[in-house]
């Protein structure tokens, strides 16, 4: 039994338990130290992930390859940045209890398990671990009605989606007689026509995963939950769990069901098209920036799915690069949103940003960078992600898909640029409160990464290439 394959997960779990015990014993004022310890645990785990070796272990339950390493690093980065975002305004957001970073840690652990799944059971348990922790985090500010509503809504709908996913898994098991990806692949390899029951299973699994991705038509929960949850939780939700859900989708669809790709490709293509269009059209009338980010995230998931619907290694590479850039811009944008506070109260209306260019040029500059990058303006990070998925779609002869993608990204550019216009050309509103150092640090760091993405594009796309190749081994 080569248990050392899962060393990063084991170390992260032990760290989580230790931090929990420390927090309970410490009782008072342990939020900050627990957060720092959590970030430390993420760093250590990230190092272990980078040095971990390839292989399949635990009786074909767990796999470690370039793909899982890529995804794990992304979700660890998402978890660490979300923790950092929380530290500055924890008391004001009413989340200043040591359980917060611990739950973030366990949620990230779940996403890591998802990235390493080699068995449908690992997939499900990792997904549940990650989701359960997020349900709690959404309702963490329990005296806020909006937060409690967000938590409950997400919990009920998320359970439904888990049920769908589980039902799909059961149907696939009924066909293949195993839950291992390798076994399912073997069982599929001799089937030329997909029987109806199996097709049902695949569709149910797609639906369950699309819910976690908040892709249309399983997106209804997103705006309410994004708006109601504490901002740093929203920043986390839009990062690590979506990356992990994508990891599952890519791994399951390219691996066990890769043989029948023509059957599901049309479905993914459809989901991708409606997500892109809905994300850009529904965001236009929004007046709340967190809701706007929710619709923007729906749209972004559509673009990222475009790479999957191409069904090629090139497309997967595009999706991976897209997710990397999305993580950067999203965390940065949320750092700015969390910094939007007046007289100790958080404000989230787009109108509150007006005149930010004069009252706080640095913050406005950062936000403008993230908005332009999300719109896909070169030479910012978002441009390269979009370029790679469009390129893959065109190479796979999905011209309609690529054309719709271009159109919807032009529509999307409207509301991103509108925010820039509000910040720089509207009447100045009163200045925001002084923001803590951690928020400035995160928004500066993400801003630099977004602008200078071109410099690291080479290594990132090489890593993504290796990761995508691992899927098609």
């Amino acid at each position: 039994m080569n248990w050392t394959l899962a060393l990063p997960e084991i170390v992260l779990t032990v760290c989580g338990l230790a931090i929990l015990v420390y927090g309970v014993v410490q009782k008072e004022q342990s939020f900050f130290s627990c957060s720092m310890l959590t970030i430390g645990a993420f760093l250590v785990t990230g190092f272990l992930v980078l040095t971990s070796r390839d292989g399949v272990g635990y009786n074909h339950i767990f796999v470690n390859d370039d793909f899982s390493r890529f995804m794990k690093i992304l979700s660890l980065a998402g978890g660490g940045l979300a923790t950092m975002l929380t530290v500055g305004y924890a008391r004001e957001m009413k989340v200043e209890r040591f359980e917060f970073p611990v739950l973030l840690l366990f949620s990230t652990l779940g996403t890591m398990m998802m990235a390493s799944s080699e068995n449908l059971m690992t997939l499900f348990i990792g997904l549940e671990l990650s989701s359960l922790a997020i349900y709690i985090l959404c309702a963490f500010a329990r005296d806020e009605v909006a937060g409690a509503e967000a938590g409950l809504k997400y919990f009920v709908l998320g359970s439904l989606a888990s049920g769908l996913l589980l039902y799909g898994i059961a149907l696939v098991y009924g066909f293949a007689g195993t839950l291992e990806y390798g076994g399912i692949q073997t069982a599929m390899s001799t089937t030329s026509a997909v029987p109806m029951g199996l097709m049902f299973g695949i569709v149910f699994m797609l639906a369950g995963l699309a819910f976690k991705l908040s892709a249309v038509p399983f997106h209804m929960w997103t705006p309410d939950v994004y708006q109601g949850a504490p901002s740093s939780v929203t920043a986390f939700m839009a990062g690590a769990p979506k990356i992990a859900a994508f990891a599952l989708l890519l791994r399951v669809m390219a691996g066990p069901f890769g043989h029948v790709s023509p059957q599901w490709q049309i479905l993914v293509e459809g989901i991708s098209i409606v997500s892109m269009l809905f994300g850009s059209l529904a965001a236009i009338p929004q007046t709340d920036i967190k809701r706007l980010m929710a619709y923007s995230s729906i749209g972004h998931m559509g673009y990222a799915l475009m790479g999957l619907s191409a069904g090629t290694a090139e497309g997967m590479r595009g999706t991976l690069v897209y997710l990397t850039t999305y993580l950067l811009m999203n965390v940065g944008a949320f750092a700015v949103i969390i910094a939007m506070r007046r007289k100790g109260r958080g404000v989230t209306a787009i109108a509150d940003l007006s005149g930010l260019g004069r009252t706080d040029p640095g913050l406005a500059m950062a936000m403008a960078i993230f908005m332009f990058s999300m719109a896909g303006a070169p030479p910012l990070a978002g441009f390269f992600g979009k370029l790679m998925v469009f390129y893959a779609a065109v190479n796979a002869h999905l011209y309609a898909l690529a054309a719709i993608g271009v159109v919807s990204s032009v529509i999307g550019a409207f509301y991103y640029v509108r925010i820039v216009k509000v910040m720089f050309f509207d009447e100045a509103a009163p200045a925001f409160d002084r923001r803590p150092l951690s928020l400035s640090f995160v928004s500066l760091g993400m801003g630099v990464a977004t602008v200078g993405f071109l410099l690291v594009l080479g290594p990132v796309s090489t890593a993504a290439q290796a990761a995508a190749a691992a899927l098609f081994r």
Partner: protein, 245 residues
């Protein structure tokens, strides 16, 4: 013989399951649920899975059903009120159920399994293992990673339950245990000689010994901020007693 036993268990199981959903009184529902569990355990026994049968009785009857019973009895849920719309929505629900059932029947009418299912790796119990040992193999050897991961999921659920519901109330009354042990009878109990046949109220009441209540309390509880000091009787209180005088 086995067949007769099977049909007896199965009939009672189905009937009691029907009663669970149709009983008017929720307590009766839970009791029928327990009956259903017992019969399901009987079916497991017939199938030769004695471990699962015992687990079903111990876990579901012993713990889960009793919890249900507690919840049903303690929560004031108006079940008759909840049933009000039943008449109105029943046809609609039946229609949806019927359509779903028909679709499932269509989908699974010709269920096919993979042609080369023999090539797929399966877990096969080692020869000579009892089913309890085989279950143990699966849980603690083959799938130990998932078993531990499930443990973490439960831990997260527990943290969540605590985080979302526990409120530290300052009203908690706690004792300083050391101080309580140090107390002597002399500072906390006072013997008074009273005439026979007359009540405390008639005698005008007595002051209880000073410090007797607050001396061992943790600061912050009982509404005391710091260690209480003995105080003389306030003006206007002419009751007898109190060690401070």
């Amino acid at each position: 013989m086995t067949q007769i036993v099977f049909y007896v268990f199965a009939t009672v199981l189905v009937l009691s399951a029907g009663m669970v959903v149709s009983a008017r009184n929720p307590v009766h529902s839970v009791l029928f649920l327990i009956l259903a569990f017992f019969n399901a355990a009987g079916l497991f026994l017939i199938a030769g899975a004695e471990f699962l049968a015992m687990i079903l009785v111990i876990v579901y009857v012993g713990a889960v059903a009793v919890l249900f019973l507690f919840v049903v009895m303690m929560l004031d849920v108006r079940f008759t009120r909840m049933r009000e719309g039943l008449q109105r929505y029943a046809p609609f629900g039946a229609a949806v159920g019927g359509v779903l059932f028909a679709e499932l029947a269509l989908a699974f009418g010709h269920w096919r399994i993979a042609a080369n299912i023999a090539d797929v790796p399966h877990l096969v119990p080692a020869p000579g293992r009892t089913n309890t040992a085989a279950l143990g193999d699966v849980l603690y050897t083959h799938y130990v990673f998932l078993f531990e991961a499930c443990g973490v999921v439960l831990l997260v659920a527990m943290i969540g339950a605590i985080v979302l519901t526990l409120r530290e109330r300052p009203m908690g009354r706690r004792q300083n245990i050391d101080r309580q042990h140090e107390r002597t009878a002399a500072e906390s109990v006072e013997m008074m000689a009273l005439p026979l046949g007359r009540g405390v109220a008639e005698l005008g009441g007595f002051r209880r010994p000073d410090k007797s209540y607050y001396v061992a309390s943790v600061p912050g509880s009982y509404g005391v901020t710091a260690e209480a000091v003995p105080q003389a009787a306030p003006a206007g209180d002419d009751r007898k007693g109190g060690l401070g005088q």
